[in-house]
């Protein structure tokens, strides 16, 4: 009898290298693209890496042949995000590194990532964060599911994996309802920051990551035409990006026992009540 729970899984977790939100982030006025010089693994993708590792571990982890491929698309420095995922426990890296990809909008990005998933071959599950912390469109996971014809288990605040049935059940918010959705592989799973507590890379993980392999591929390797990606393959074009005037501190008072009244006076002055 074939037992699904003994078949190793191939899980691809998508990680994005994004400008560190702890610093001021900028949009370059000549290219209208984000300044990516101070970048890190998107905080929200750490939850995706954790979810991918936890599912692989349910199946016996890397020893049982389960693979967790940390994949990214981005310039040469984006390999930094793969490295972090490998330190957390991913088994290998896959880096789509090609200048022609710069300036891709969501639709072009999901086109390239779908090609990357197909290139990786026999992927059972794609895991992503709920959004990237730079573009914040939160639409690429759903687009990937659509393109790959995988189940779309998106915005999961809780993930349960039934290894014997090879099925995932997630909880997600939907307006005034809380839903439980279930699907078997292949699937795209996107997780929120409620889903788990991402692990920190420990010393062993950091040492082990040095021996793990990261394959670098170009758009051409995936059979993607230059006109299908980057600005050329995008359905939208940014024509201007203006910094909003920074908010500045206004009046600050110390409570002398009457601050609640002062607050109401302020609201009345500003015609807010």
């Amino acid at each position: 009898m074939s037992d699904a729970s003994s078949t190793p899984l191939t899980i691809l977790v998508l990680v994005k290298h994004v400008p560190d939100a702890q610093f001021d982030r900028h949009i370059d006025q000549s290219t209208l693209r984000m300044d990516r010089s101070e970048s890190i693994l998107s905080e929200l993708d750490e939850y995706a890496v954790e979810a991918a590792l936890a599912i692989a571990e349910e199946r016996g982890g890397p020893k049982a042949g389960n693979q967790v491929i940390a994949a990214t698309m981005g310039g040469p420095k984006a390999v930094g995000s793969i490295k972090k995922a490998l330190q957390m426990g991913a088994t290998s890296g896959l880096h789509l590194n090609d200048e022609t990809l710069a300036g891709s909008d969501a639709t072009a990005t999901s086109r390239a990532l779908a090609a990357l998933v197909k290139y990786a071959g026999n992927v059972d599950l794609v895991v992503t964060g709920m959004a990237s912390t730079d573009a914040e469109t939160a639409v690429v996971p759903a687009q990937l599911a659509e393109r790959l014809e995988f189940a779309a288990l998106t915005n999961a605040s809780r993930v349960e994996f039934d290894s014997a049935a090879s099925a995932l059940t997630i909880s997600r918010d939907h307006g005034s309802e809380s839903l439980k959705l279930s699907a078997s592989f292949p699937a795209v799973l996107s997780v929120t920051d409620q889903a788990n507590e991402p692990r920190y890379p420990n010393f062993r993980g950091i040492m082990a990551a040095k021996k793990k392999k990261t394959e670098e591929v170009t758009a051409a390797d995936l059979g993607l035409d230059a006109s299908a990606v980057g600005a050329a393959g995008s359905g939208t074009e940014v024509v201007s990006a203006e910094a909003r005037p920074a908010r500045t501190a206004g009046t600050v008072i110390t409570d002398n026992g009457q601050a609640g009244i002062a607050l109401v006076n302020y609201l009345a002055e500003q015609k807010l009540i």
């Binding site: 939100a21 469109t137 779309a152 605040s157 309802e177 809380s178 839903l179 359905g235 074009e237 601050a259």
Partner: protein, 312 residues
Amino acid sequence: MTSALLFFTELTQAPSKAQRELLTLAARFDSATVALTGDISEEATGIVGSYGIGRILQAPAGDGFQDHEVGVLDAAVQTVNPQIVLLANDSFHREVAARVAARREVGIITDAIDVSADRTVTKDELAGAYTARVNPVADLVLVTVKPNSVEDAPAGGESAAVVEPLEVAAYASRLQVVGREEKPASGRPSLGEARIVVSGGRGVDGDFSPVEDLADALGAAVGASRAATDAGWIDHDFQVGQTGTTVSPQLYISAGISGAIQQKAGMQTSKYIVAVNKDEDAPIFEIADFGIIGDLKQILPQAAEEIRRRQS
């Protein structure tokens, strides 16, 4: 001739504020059509008509999750051939738009705060630190619009919209809904749409009543920081910020919240920010128009009482 298509999964006789804003935006185009899943009342067709929108394509409600809605919107796009599709900005509608955009190989623009008749979209970037203008390059674009972005203004159309059935092919869903639970309703305005939001953080120390009381005096929605939702003092639905709801009200009152980057990402485009915090060095004061250093447990009840006194 630019034609717009609006997509709703529900339309009652009392459309939400966000739905009214979308109807207002759609009416800017030469022609507009509403695509809807689910039933529609006569009152609602009258309301759509009052925005000068004459046509509603109606499909049955779906019982699964999202696949039916994607099929309906895609069918409506092929029927109407619009140049722009407008939807709400919540995660469900974004994803429906995204999947149709992938099917049609066209662009999607999220977090729009304005859309002009030539299809130029104004949107927030980097959590509102930038305002960008984005143009579609194809003859179709899907746009999700943030609530509170435009003034609701019915064009004054007099006849009700005409409802036509929309034929939708059967679909095979790859997922199953195995649980569905209605969350308790608070009776307060919805967080994303409210004109005033009062939010509490770790500083409320387990007791949201001062925050709720001030919110009720102001007719406001209640919000929270992740520290407060993580502690279980209030449901995650009330979380404001990067991984919660993004709000852009006229007034945001922040109480007992330090002002971490992820919190600011969800509220810094508010028109006015008032902060109450007992720590004078709390980063929230850097972006507050009016700040009070002090104990929220004293200040909030006093303010609520003063508002009620002035109202009576």
